[in-house]
């Protein structure tokens, strides 16, 4: 009886009692959900265009953020120039990956490409630690002109705190997704990217260069990684521990479907909000710490009942 009440009654009494805590929890979940969604977005971009499951997306987030911070703090480059240089580094990385990893492995089975991206993960880890050092660093939030501080919102007899950086993160993420969507639907290169995602052979036959397209998607994924790294770094620290959190993007992908950009976003939000709310209201039953596994259990449940995800690719079949 006690357990049932803990599951079905007490949490809702708590929600009704302290509504501002509930709103705060939702907000926190929403923000981390956006960040999960951004990491998942990087995966989806690459998976769609090249069929490669990019295990290295998480480490790319760390690598990009570390490059940015170190350029400023270690090498004394002004923040905005460091940002541009970090973008350039992600571009060079994309070219390098295409030349050295993808091109020689064209036509190999998917498992081999996955292994290659695991190798890439280890390489970026090693290179990152060697060049930028392994200790956690704080993000250069203020130098980049990102807002700090917080605003309180008094509501329902309590107050909810909004960190300005979180608000900025959501706005920037929204702009970036809108920008990507426009790029995909309106530009010549975007059209070519979707064509490649649809049918590699046919894309080749109309003269689309796969090598060029791969560089572009890896670059796009690199920029998404950089933005994610900045936002996440501003909330905690920039360190290699971020990579573990990036693994949660796998759960997001299972929820949202590997090929769907809206799926990545909705999946990210479900997991972000879900794990926060679950931890605050039901976490006590499990002795807390549910955030570490909630996403994966949810993903397992999805695998059982809807393996293609919420927004898995519509398979067009004509009869």
């Amino acid at each position: 009886m006690g357990l049932l009440s803990e599951i079905f009654i007490e949490p809702f009494i708590l929600i009704a009692d302290i509504p501002d805590l509930f709103i705060q929890t939702l907000w926190e979940g929403f923000v981390s959900g956006i960040l999960y969604a951004l990491i998942a977005l990087g995966f989806v971009l690459i998976f769609k265009a090249s069929g490669v499951f990019n295990f290295a997306q998480g480490i790319m987030v760390v690598f990009a953020a570390l490059a940015l911070v170190s350029l400023h703090t270690k090498f004394g480059v002004p923040a905005w120039i460091a940002l541009l240089l970090a973008i350039a580094i992600m571009g060079l990385l994309a070219i390098g990956i295409e030349r050295i990893v993808l091109r020689p492995l064209v036509g190999q089975p998917d498992a081999i490409l996955l292994m290659a991206t695991i190798g890439l993960t280890l390489f970026l880890q090693g290179a990152g630690e060697t060049i930028f050092g392994g200790e956690p660093q704080s993000m250069i939030t203020e130098e980049l002109g990102l807002p700090t501080g917080a605003t309180d919102w008094h509501v329902l007899g309590g107050r909810v705190t909004f960190q300005h950086i979180d608000v900025a993160a959501i706005i920037i993420a929204g702009l970036m997704v809108a920008g990507l969507a426009l790029f995909f639907s309106k530009t010549r290169i975007g059209r070519a990217l979707r064509a490649v995602a649809d049918d590699h052979q046919a894309a080749l036959s109309v003269g689309i260069s796969l090598n060029q397209i791969w560089v572009i998607v890896w670059f796009a994924a690199g920029i998404v990684a950089l933005v994610t790294g900045i936002m996440w770094g501003a909330r905690s620290d920039v360190s290699f521990a971020l990579e573990v959190i990036a693994l949660k993007a796998l759960a997001v992908l299972i929820l949202g479907g590997f090929t769907s950009v809206p799926g990545a976003i909705v999946g990210g939000l479900i997991i972000g909000v879900g794990e926060k709310v679950f931890e605050v209201y039901w976490g006590g039953i499990f002795g807390g710490g549910t955030e570490a596994w909630f996403a994966y259990v949810l993903a397992l449940i999805f695998l059982l009942f809807r393996p293609q995800g919420l927004f898995g690719e519509k398979i067009i079949e004509r009869v």
Binding site: S205, V206, K314
Partner: protein, 276 residues
């Protein structure tokens, strides 16, 4: 088989000289195929399943690489330059594009977007591309009606038109057309071939097409090659091939003397006359 002198002195756009193609380093598919396409011609490659028609086209368009195929002997000359080492996109830029067997439209793109991907390699500006889009819609009015539908939801005939239109958007001088009749109703096949003929005479596009439907292909083609087990076994003017007794018997199903089982004659005769 030398063919250069049999063709009228018109300029040659494509020449395939004695090519051999091996898949996966072991499977020999083409055993020395030669053919010539005059500028402005419609040339057909005919033959049964597995004869090597698609492989020949893919060897020309350089799409073999993705399937672990390799041209190991011979050479291919397009507009006077050897092209075996070019990438497919270089070749499209130079004016030779393939329409693959089974259409291969981009299912999740609209018909219009499909057409526009064909213009990917062009650098001559949005206005020129838009003008060509109009041109394609004039040849294929059906595509104009379906312009905003996803290509995956259009009919087989519309997809074939979409694939040909898409190739046309690259402003090609030559189109390699693989099995345009596949899976289409006879009336539609006729319609497609009529458009091919129109494109050929109005736009000056040369065609090299692979077909199993010998009858219709030889009605439209100026010249034909018959491929069997990776070799050219017979070639000639379209009209002459249609009158050839062997072609009639083997491919058009018109027997010389009364009814008999196709299976009985086929083997020994082919061996005797062609493969000896």
């Amino acid at each position: 088989m030398s063919t250069a002198e049999e063709i009228s002195p018109a300029e040659t756009i494509l020449e395939v000289n004695n090519i051999e193609v091996i898949y996966d380093h072991v499977i020999l598919v083409l055993k020395g195929v030669s053919l010539t396409v005059p500028r402005g011609g419609i040339v057909a490659i005919l033959g049964a399943n597995g004869a090597g028609k698609t492989t020949t086209l893919k060897a020309i368009s350089n799409l073999l690489g993705a399937e672990r195929g390799d041209v190991t002997k011979g050479n291919i000359v397009f507009k006077g330059n050897e092209i075996q080492s070019l990438s497919p996109n270089d070749l499209v830029r130079r004016g030779c594009i393939q329409v693959m067997e089974g259409r291969h439209c981009f299912g999740h793109l609209t018909v219009e977007e499909n057409l526009l991907t064909g213009a990917f390699t062009r650098k001559d500006g949005a206005a020129a591309i838009k003008a060509d889009l109009e041109l394609v819609y004039n040849y294929f009015p059906r595509l104009r009606e379906r312009r905003s539908s996803l290509a995956g939801y259009t009919s087989g005939g519309e997809q074939q038109m979409c694939a040909i239109g898409r190739a046309l958007m690259s402003k090609p001088e030559m189109i390699l057309l693989d099995e345009p009749s596949m899976g289409l109703a006879p009336q539609l096949v006729e319609e497609i071939f009529e458009i091919v003929k129109k494109l050929n005479s109005n736009e000056g596009v040369s065609f090299l097409l692979a077909e199993q439907n010998t009858n219709i292909a030889l009605r439209y083609a100026t010249y034909g090659y018959i491929l069997e087990s990776g070799r050219v076994v017979l070639d000639g003017e379209g009209a002459a091939l249609r009158e050839n007794e062997d072609v009639k018997e083997f491919y058009l199903g018109i027997g010389g003397e009364g009814r008999k089982s196709f299976r009985d004659v086929k083997h020994y005769k082919r061996r005797k006359r062609w493969l000896a």
